[in-house]
Structures are given as structure tokens and as C-alpha cells.
């Protein structure tokens, strides 16, 4: 499983030509915005969070890249975006800090049909066969991402801004990321009580091999929208305590 994801960014004219000020730390927040919609009308289960970005960040590699895509917005430009020289230099100053982006990360549903297997053709740099993933999004995830796109676009619109790109079509999956792209991949060696439907017990110990523990994201039975690392740490701690206990008792 992986979280779903999609992004929208727009130029906000009110933020153009801002007086110089420190905005370090404004980006990268995982912001929880109180739900303002009507849950009874949603066509998908569960939810998502919004990460906000933009601001007057430190100029570094890639700074204001692709400016030709937006430096004709809100300015009278018969030739369209792009350019060079004095006009372009001024544009970087005008638009610096005027872009606001919203990234959605949502919960995907765990499906039995999604699985991984040992790749029959490809090996890694150590000569060991790599994992091959078979994974499809369903309407549940597509509808959720469509909701993200529509919500974020309306927020940019409310701010008086213009999105930097058009709403992705249904054929393009409403701009949903590929499975694995949000790098919250978890599951496959799921935990459970029944050895027929799970690989590990509640201590991340293999049902089949007593001294085999899987202390990573493998034991997850679902993947919410959030970063999985802290849950992995919590499960690892429980596993470690269990191993210590079992070794002291001479069971391992």
C-alpha cells in the first residue's frame, strides 16, 4: 500500500511584490485543516491531509524554474511568458514568494488483489532478485484525488489566484501519483492472528519461523495518509521488548 497524492499550485497576485521579510519555516507543514464539507455526500471513504508550500524560500538550485509558464499572469504581456533581460530580472522580483502550493496525501484502501512478488527478470547490484509490485488504484482513490484537486483549486480561486496547470482529466487519473511515489509503501507481510491470512503475529514475529521478525513497514494492515515511520518505530519497540523477554525465557 501507499498513500495517494496529488498537487495544485497557483500564483497569488496579492503576494506579488511583497516587502522583504523572513518566511523560513512556512513550507513543508503537514497541516490539518478542519473539515468543511458534507461527509454524507462524499463518493470515497476515509480522508486526506493537506501540505502547504510556497513562500520566500532560500534561493537554491531550481530557484523559480519554469518562470516562462507564469510570468505573464497578472501582468500585461503581449508576447506571453518567458523573456530575458531587464524585464525578466524584474519578474523574478515581482513573483518571488507569490506561489502557493497544496499537496494532498490520502488514505488508500488495502486490496487483496494488490501484491508483490519476486521479479523473475531483474536483480539488484548484489545479484539478488528485486521485488515486483502489482498495484492498481480503484475508484475509491481516484474519487478522493478528484476531491483534492477540486478543493485545492477552489482555495486558490478564493485567494484570487490562478492555478499553474489545468485540472488533470479522468483519463489522467485526476493527477494521482503512481503507487510508491509518496514513498509510504507498507504492508505485504501483514500482521494478524490467523496464519492463513497473515504472515506475522502482533509482535511482528513470523507465524512459520519463530526466530524471524519483520521490524519495518511490512506488518501494516492499512496505510493512512501520514508518514509511517513513527508507527514503524513503535512496532519495532514492541518487537524488541518481546524479543528480550522471549530470550530471557529461553524461548528463542
Amino acid at each position: 500500500m501507499d498513500s495517494t497524492g496529488t498537487d495544485v499550485a497557483g500564483v497569488i497576485p496579492d503576494l506579488m511584490d511583497s516587502p522583504a521579510h523572513n518566511e523560513d519555516g512556512t513550507g513543508g507543514m503537514h497541516m490539518y485543516i478542519p473539515w468543511w464539507g458534507d461527509n454524507s455526500k462524499l463518493d470515497f471513504a476515509r480522508g486526506y491531509h493537506v501540505e502547504l508550500w510556497g513562500g520566500r524560500g532560500m534561493p537554491s538550485y531550481g530557484f523559480m524554474g519554469g518562470i516562462q509558464n507564469y510570468n505573464d499572469l497578472f501582468l500585461n504581456r503581449p508576447k506571453g511568458g518567458g523573456g530575458y533581460g531587464k524585464q525578466l530580472k524584474e519578474d523574478y522580483r515581482h513573483y518571488y514568494g507569490s506561489i502557493v502550493g497544496l499537496s494532498g496525501r490520502g488514505e488508500s484502501i488495502a486490496y487483496k488483489d494488490n501484491y508483490c512478488e519476486i521479479d523473475p527478470d531483474v536483480v539488484d547490484e548484489w545479484g539478488i532478485p528485486v521485488l515486483k509490485f502489482n498495484y492498481n488504484w480503484t475508484d475509491q482513490e481516484y474519487n478522493q484525488v478528484k476531491h483534492m484537486q477540486e478543493s485545492f483549486r477552489s482555495i486558490i480561486d478564493e485567494m484570487g489566484g490562478t492555478p499553474l496547470w489545468d485540472m488533470p482529466s479522468k483519463e489522467d487519473g485526476y493527477g494521482i501519483t503512481n503507487p510508491g511515489q509518496i514513498i509510504h509503501e507498507v504492508g505485504t507481510t501483514r500482521m494478524g492472528k490467523d496464519p492463513d491470512t497473515s504472515v506475522l503475529n502482533e509482535y511482528c514475529q513470523s507465524h512459520d519461523v519463530d526466530n524471524l521478525f519483520v521490524a519495518d513497514g511490512g506488518p501494516f494492515v492499512s496505510q493512512p495518509h501520514k508518514n509511517p515511520t513513527w508507527t514503524i518505530l513503535a512496532l519495532s519497540m514492541r518487537t524488541s521488548e518481546y524479543i528480550t523477554d522471549q530470550m530471557n525465557k529461553g524461548n528463542l
Binding site: 496579492d14 503576494l15 511584490d17 511583497s18 516587502p19 522583504a20 521579510h21 523572513n22 518566511e23 523560513d24 519555516g25 520566500r56 524560500g57 532560500m58 534561493p59 537554491s60 538550485y61 531550481g62 530557484f63 523559480m64 524554474g65 519554469g66 518562470i67 516562462q68 505573464d72 508576447k79 506571453g80 511568458g81 518567458g82 523573456g83 530575458y84 533581460g85 531587464k86 525578466l88 530580472k89 523574478y92 522580483r93 518571488y96
Partner: protein, 201 residues
């Protein structure tokens, strides 16, 4: 310490840089070449920092072109003053996927200038150079047969922006205020006023 030297030191890592500062430079370089500290720093990598990717002709084209993209004005110098041509040359080694598009784009520019003005780009007058740029710098109105030039110039413009605005004078010019000791009092009143929220802070 110039930029190449700085990058070299950075890549050697703090341990190696520590050796360098106590005078045992040969030890650290040798160690780095043996992959003791950083697996990815090879002897070839160390050599490349002293080499120039562009030919002298290409470098001169990059220099003139970069100065046309970001000229000097009352607030700051031009691309060359900020070391942009050297930066772009370094990036060809750092991100090799740019080598062919950049080399090819520079050649395309010379071919077009020869066709239109009977000269290489660097030997054209500034008026001719700008006439050339007017055909490739505005994607929305560019002619279809100028598309290779448009693609090249979009990439080139981004490189100049990265190099110029991340330089000392670029950071001062654009008004980046972070990453320095600062008495943080929340968002400035002037910035709040700018978005019509002057009464909120």
C-alpha cells in the same frame, strides 16, 4: 576558497576536511580516492572539479548569453558578476543529463545565427543577438521551427536563475531574509499590510 574548492571540500566530508585543515591534505585525498569515507567520490570525480566541460567557444557563448538573460541594473550586477558561467559549467558535470541538450542548444544557436546573420552568436552585434533571442525567449509566440531553441532557452534561463539568485548578490537583491540570526517577531507588519491584513499584525 573558490566554488570548486568548496564543493570539493564538502564532498570529502567533515572528517576529510578536518585532516585538510591540520595540514594532512594528501592523506585525506588519498583516503577519499580509496572510497574510505564517501563511496561516491572517485578519483575521476576529484579530477573533474579541475576540468572545464565547455569548450572555450561554448564557454564564451554561455557567458554572453547569461549576461543577456540577467543584465546588471541599479540593484545588482549581471550573471557573470555572480559567477553564473562557471556555475553552469560545473552543473554539466554535476547533472550530466544536461550535457547533450546544452551543447546541442549552443550549437543550434550558432547555426541559426550563421543562417540569419552570417556569424556565430558571440560575433553577432548585441542587436542581432537580441533579435535572435526574441525568436526563442517567448514560448507562446515562437514559430514552430524555433522550438529546439525555445526548449534550449527555457533550460538555459532556469540555469541562469539558479546560479544568479543563489549567489551572494542574488540573495541580497531578491530580499531573502532567512537562514541568519534573527529576532523573530512573527510576520512583519509591512508584509501583513501588503495583503490587506495590517490590522492583524
Amino acid at each position: 576558497m573558490d566554488r570548486r574548492e568548496a564543493l570539493k571540500r564538502l564532498s570529502l566530508g567533515t572528517l576529510a576536511a578536518g585532516f585538510a585543515m591540520t595540514g594532512c591534505k594528501t592523506v585525506s585525498e588519498k583516503a577519499a580516492q580509496q572510497h574510505t569515507f564517501w563511496k561516491h567520490v572517485t578519483e575521476e570525480d576529484l579530477k573533474k572539479w579541475d576540468a572545464q566541460f565547455f569548450t572555450d567557444h561554448e564557454f564564451e557563448t554561455v557567458r554572453q548569453l547569461a549576461n543577456l538573460v540577467i543584465p546588471a541594473d541599479e540593484r545588482s550586477g549581471n550573471a557573470e558578476d555572480a559567477g553564473v558561467p562557471q556555475f553552469i559549467d560545473f552543473m554539466m558535470f554535476d547533472r550530466p543529463e544536461n550535457q547533450t541538450p546544452m551543447r546541442g542548444g549552443l550549437k543550434w544557436l550558432d547555426l541559426q545565427c550563421s543562417r540569419q546573420f552570417d556569424n556565430n552568436f558571440i560575433d553577432c552585434s548585441e542587436k542581432q543577438q537580441k533579435e535572435m533571442l526574441d525568436q526563442i525567449a517567448y514560448p507562446d509566440i515562437a514559430e514552430p521551427d524555433m522550438q529546439p531553441g525555445v526548449n534550449f532557452f527555457n533550460r538555459f534561463r532556469d540555469f541562469v536563475a539558479s546560479g544568479f539568485w543563489s549567489s551572494k548578490q542574488g540573495i541580497e537583491d531578491i530580499g531573502y531574509k532567512g537562514n541568519q540570526p534573527y529576532d523573530w517577531q512573527g510576520c512583519s507588519h509591512e508584509a501583513m499590510e501588503h495583503i490587506g491584513l495590517g490590522d492583524k499584525g
